[in-house]
């Protein structure tokens, strides 16, 4: 039973140890805990699926993309190793680490993922993906709804957003209060005038634990503010309790975000769902390949950089989960609000598209395989905007994760209908 907020704060003002600060929450190192953790990684801006998992044998791919398309002989990573997967598909040359995971059977590709009547606005399409609701109404998030039904009563670190500026709608919930963290490492609540620390903390807590009207800005400021002071110290201790030999590159924002997931998943047994966002350039309207010096070099440029960061980060995270004995307990999945136009534009880029592919990673994934079909690249099969028609409803992907992975997940309750499950789990 969860303590009410008031009791919570009463208890927490008594002492400073983690155990007392967070009743029911202790720092430990769970071994083979059998937990079901989900890290949902957002590739914001609309990732170019066709240049991520490349149908390199399809002549239509090459005629649609004469400048930015990868020819068969160009499908080699920096070490010269081929990134071809089979007789139809290859990974982008930047994805060498993900190709390795695919070959080890730890990574699956879901293809042709989209929804009916695609919307080409970032905002609207994101809303649809976040709510799993094609009505375009600002409803609760699909993971928020799951959290409401399955994570109520757990600590506030059960559902966490890692990213920049504000909680994403995907975690918008009515009963639980997911935490939003931009990054680890902010100093805990500090009092420079050290002699006054106890007095200041007591007064601070008394002031911030007042009751405010439910749903008001004051209530939110007070709730998050109280949590910030409390969890500030807690996160500090979490960082200290976490040890790993895995190195997450400092300059890679995806890696840094996934490191935060690793820290929290390792240290807090309640930690269950994570939404991960980071700055990126997936919205590749122009110059998705090349640099000023080498404008036509497909192995360089914004898309290659973003995919390389993603690939290295997921590999580091996977290795870390193995080291932490959590590899059986963690599922990582990517998503993006849409793919991009099959036909390249005149700016060495691609405009907004529709169906795309996504990755699912974890020990329990039936990896090394493709699920869903690559949509046709026949011009006659495109929609009126010149985009591909989806083959896999994104809600089938969600349903599979809800019903076959998340503890207490119920796809019909969350999605409002049954969708065919996919075989990746």
């Amino acid at each position: 039973m969860k303590a009410t907020r008031r009791e919570f704060i009463k208890q927490s003002s008594a002492a400073f140890s983690i155990a007392m600060l967070m009743p029911g929450l202790s720092i430990s190192r769970p071994q083979q805990s059998g937990r079901k953790i989900l890290a949902l990684v957002q590739l914001g801006g609309g990732n170019d699926g066709l240049n991520t998992v490349i149908p390199y044998k399809d002549p239509r791919y090459h005629s649609l993309r004469p400048s930015i398309g990868f020819k068969e002989e160009e499908l080699k990573d920096a070490e010269g190793n081929s990134t071809i997967i089979n007789s139809e598909f290859a990974f982008h040359p930047a994805l060498s680490e993900l190709k390795g995971l695919f070959q080890q059977g730890r990574l699956a590709v879901v293809q042709g993922v989209g929804y009916p009547n695609p919307d080409l606005s970032h905002g609207i399409s994101n809303l649809i993906w976040e709510t799993a609701d094609v009505s375009k109404q600002p409803r609760l998030g699909w993971l928020g709804k799951y959290a409401d039904s399955a994570l109520a009563g757990k600590s506030s670190l059960a559902a966490v957003s890692i990213g920049f500026n504000s909680l994403p709608r995907v975690l918008a919930a009515s009963k639980v209060n997911p935490v939003a963290i931009r990054r680890l490492g902010e100093s805990p609540f500090r009092v420079i005038n050290a002699a006054e620390t106890d007095n200041v903390l007591r007064a601070f807590r008394d002031n911030i634990s007042r009751e405010f009207p439910a749903g008001s800005f004051l209530e939110k400021l007070a709730r998050v503010g109280a949590n910030a002071e409390r969890s500030g110290g807690q996160l500090q201790e979490a960082i200290e309790a976490y040890h790993s030999s895995v190195i997450y590159a400092e300059a890679n924002p995806v890696a840094q975000a996934l490191k935060t997931v690793a820290v929290l998943a390792t240290v807090f047994p309640d930690a269950t769902i994570f939404h991960v966002a980071f700055p990126s350039f997936y919205d590749t309207h122009a110059r998705q390949i090349g640099t000023a010096e080498a404008p036509r070099n497909k192995h360089l440029g914004t898309h290659a950089t973003d995919l390389k960061r993603l690939s290295e980060a997921i590999k580091a995270f996977y290795d870390d989960m193995v080291e932490q004995n959590l590899a059986d307990d963690v599922l990582l999945m990517t998503y993006s609000e849409f793919g991009r136009r099959p036909n390249e534009n005149a700016s060495l880029g691609t405009d907004h598209g529709t169906a795309s592919n996504l990755f699912v990673v974890g020990n329990k994934v039936k990896g090394g395989d493709f699920y869903g079909l690559q949509p046709s690249l026949n011009a006659t099969d495109f929609d009126t905007a010149g985009n591909m028609r989806f083959t896999t409803d994104f809600r089938s992907v969600y349903a599979t994760v809800l019903d076959r992975w998340l503890e207490g997940g119920d796809s019909e309750a969350v999605l409002g209908a049954r969708f065919p499950l996919l075989g990746f789990l």
Partner: protein
């Protein structure tokens, strides 16, 4: 008309500027609401030379006269951020900066893609056009280097138009996807394609002006599509300029703009409510009655009953700029300019860690306002900055003989902050404690008094009420 009350003046100053010092509140009182609003909005009459002189003396790039007089050392991302932060701290025209901030969030270009030189000139354009005709602002920004790069216009060709600008011009800069009142779709995918054609061939070059910042728009006739285009059911050989004129004259654009302004400056609107829809239309009428003048639109908004209604009072959450700059202005906290490459880090760093890195909004939508900024770590940063700001402040002027007067003085200094008496009492109790937590009474002449005062200010800055605007 009745004079503005102190509380109304405080509200007006909070919304139109950064913080509200007691002197500023006093200077507005004994005027009518209308006169008070005019005084703030018509800031062109306010002499700002002192600020300009101080900035010019402290920022080398402001003295640049030829292209080779700026370099990576004296002109870079950190330098222009510092420049704007000091403007906001020192200006005598807070509303000018506030409107510039509104437009920055509206057009939401970022240093992540656009070089500092163009972000800086765009900021100057946003400021000089902030209250002009909306058509002029939209055209100026659309033809500016920053936007041409940001949404890939410079690469858009007749045979293969780039849709990035054509789409966002409608979705974000004029009409929005759906009408703010009727909810009807404002454009189709076909409109996106046709509008995009009208902006093909828009290019950028260094102008003859010797200033290192001078670039100009031009039309590459070979890449411009002069053909017939059908936009919103009308067919003509629209140019990009024509499209902007058409957009600025659509009623749905006025509604969108009113909604954006209202939600930034007054309160959040519920477009399901008849009352709020009527409010949007009322101000959309003002836009059309005044030849698309932004100045007259915001004047009407700030003079309105809605703005001075109880619903508006403390109805928003301070964004990090309002919190930081506002707190510093109210406390009259002075921060040295430092020098190029060694500016005071607390300002830029804390805005970033509170989630509002100037010139780097998270995406094309700008920042999520209000509780978008209320995240666990961002609140912690707010609380800890409060500690640092107070620590470096001379606190003597807040010391009063009684704990009650001292708390009152401090609350008033934070812009007539309204809190309930139980909290006031608790703050007085805090002053009375010795460091062992024993109540010994407030002694304003004790050696510990200044330290207590600083913590008192910090505790007030941590109150949820202080984060409302």
């Amino acid at each position: 008309m009745a004079d503005i009350t102190r509380q109304e003046a405080a509200h007006l100053l909070r919304r139109t500027g950064f913080g509200n010092r007691i002197e500023d509140i006093k200077s507005l009182s004994a005027r009518s609401r209308n006169k008070a609003v005019d005084q703030i909005i018509d800031y062109g009459r306010v002499n700002n030379q002192e600020m300009e002189d101080r900035l010019t003396a402290n920022f080398e790039f402001l003295r640049a006269s030829s292209p080779d007089s700026i370099n990576d050392q004296n002109f870079n991302d950190a330098e222009i951020r510092a420049w704007w932060i000091f403007r906001m701290l020192l200006t005598h025209r807070p509303f000018e900066e506030k409107m510039t901030l509104f437009w920055h969030n509206f057009f939401a270009t970022s240093l992540d893609k656009v070089p500092a030189i163009h972000i800086y000139t765009q900021n100057l354009d946003l400021r000089s056009h902030a209250l002009g005709r909306f058509d002029d602002l939209l055209l100026k920004i659309s033809q500016g280097a920053a936007m041409l790069i940001w949404l890939d216009g410079i690469n858009s060709t007749r045979t293969n138009p780039n849709e990035n600008f054509g789409r966002e011009l409608q979705e974000l800069f004029s009409t929005g996807i759906n009408d703010a009142v009727t909810g009807e779709a404002n454009y189709t995918e076909e409109d996106v394609k046709e509008v995009s054609r009208a902006f093909t061939g828009w290019r950028l070059r260094k102008s003859a002006d010797p200033s290192p910042f001078a670039y100009e728009w031009y039309l590459d006739e070979n890449e411009a599509d002069h053909g017939q285009k059908t936009i919103y059911g009308q067919t003509a050989n629209f140019s990009g300029q024509d499209v902007i004129t058409v957009l600025a004259d659509r009623r749905t654009t006025a509604r969108f703009l009113v909604k954006r302004l209202f939600e930034f400056f007054v309160y959040r609107l519920d477009t399901e409510s008849d009352e709020d829809r009527a409010t949007i239309d009322k101000f959309a009428d003002v836009y059309f009655a005044n030849d698309h003048s932004i100045r007259e639109l915001v004047r009407a908004i700030f003079k309105s009953e809605e703005f001075f209604s109880p619903r508006a009072r403390f109805a928003l959450i301070k964004n990090p700029v309002e919190f930081l700059i506002g707190s510093m202005r109210m406390l009259e906290a002075s921060v040295g300019f430092g020098s190029t490459g060694a500016r005071p880090a607390i300002l830029e760093t804390s805005l970033r860690t509170m989630g509002m890195d100037l010139f780097s909004p998270p995406d094309v939508f700008g920042w999520k306002l209000n509780d978008g900024f209320v995240t666990t770590d961002a609140m912690l940063v707010r609380f800890n900055i409060a500690d640092r700001l107070m620590y470096f402040l001379g606190g003597g002027r807040f010391v009063k003989s009684s704990a009650k007067k001292t708390v009152k003085k401090m609350l008033d200094s934070f812009g007539l902050l309204e809190i309930d008496s139980a909290v006031e009492k608790r703050l007085q109790d805090y002053l009375a404690l010795n460091s062992a937590g024993v109540p010994v009474g407030w002694n304003s002449s004790d050696i510990s008094a200044i330290g207590k005062i600083k913590n008192l200010g910090r505790l007030i800055m941590c109150l949820p009420e202080h984060h409302l605007n």
